[in-house]
């Protein structure tokens, strides 16, 4: 059960972030004045990609709460670490970002560091 929850968390986190990125890129670059931010938030409610992304993140959060209720925090950490690598992979192949060796190195160091935090 624990590992199923870890899988659900990693998968939903990844899908959520990728959908959010795709949806927000479609919406266009956000400006920083209050009126533009309010407009951006209003558009999010009509943006199916971002709504689906937020839904996936909500599922990941509920799965995290379930995992925390049956095991300790250190069990939840591998899910976060896997998400970093999985998301970088999808950023390259789905979002077509230029993932250079620096970015792979960055994602790997962060994933490893996050695992170390929980040891």
């Amino acid at each position: 059960m624990r590992w199923i929850l870890v899988g659900i968390i990693a998968l939903c986190n990844t899908v959520g972030d990728v959908l959010n990125t795709a949806g927000m890129k479609r919406q266009g670059e956000a400006e920083l004045n209050p009126r533009a931010v309010a407009h951006m938030v209003a558009r999010i409610f009509r943006n199916p990609l971002v709504l689906a992304g937020l839904g996936a993140l909500a599922v990941a959060f509920i799965a995290l709460l379930s995992l925390l209720s049956i095991s300790n925090v250190s069990f939840a950490v591998p899910a976060t670490a896997i998400s970093y690598l999985l998301e970088t992979l999808l950023a390259k192949y789905v979002l077509k970002e230029k993932v250079t060796w620096r970015r792979w190195g960055a994602a790997s160091l962060v994933a490893f560091g996050v695992l170390m935090l929980s040891w």
Partner: protein
């Protein structure tokens, strides 16, 4: 590479800082508030509502809402593979805030982890924030 103007780059940098800061302030505030509230092991929503009587908890939730909005705004301007490692600096700052503000102990192992994450953040910061042009139409 993108031919972004200096002011556009500035905006992305500013958003990145707000995303990191709101993540840290929101989590530390929420953590401090929930510790004051005490353990909630209950099926009753009323017990969770009680947590919202604590100003630190309320402040934490509000700041984390701001974090969500600025994170989406940042993703509209920068690559996911840039945002992920760069905003991971929040882990480092949350650990340091826990140590200095909430007096949590940090083991030697955790200090090494903090250094490793920081190296990852620095490596990602060396790359241009956005490497794609226009919307990713190939998705859906």
């Amino acid at each position: 590479m993108n031919s972004a103007t200096a002011s556009e780059v500035r905006k992305t940098q500013l958003l990145t800082l707000v995303v990191i800061a709101s993540n840290v302030v929101g989590n530390v505030s929420l953590s401090h508030g929930m510790r004051q509230v005490g353990k909630i092991v209950s099926a009753s929503p009323l017990d969770y509502a009680r947590a919202f009587a604590n100003p630190w908890t309320v402040a934490g939730v509000l700041v984390l809402a701001l974090w969500m909005i600025t994170d989406l705004a940042l993703l509209s301007r920068a690559d996911l593979s840039f945002v992920l490692p760069v905003t991971a600096s929040a882990y480092v700052l949350i650990a340091l805030a826990g140590h200095f503000l909430l007096h949590e102990r940090i083991s030697a192992q955790r200090w090494v982890a903090i250094v490793v994450i920081t190296l990852g953040v620095v490596l990602a910061e060396e790359t241009p924030p956005r490497t794609t042009e226009g919307p990713p139409e190939q998705l859906l």
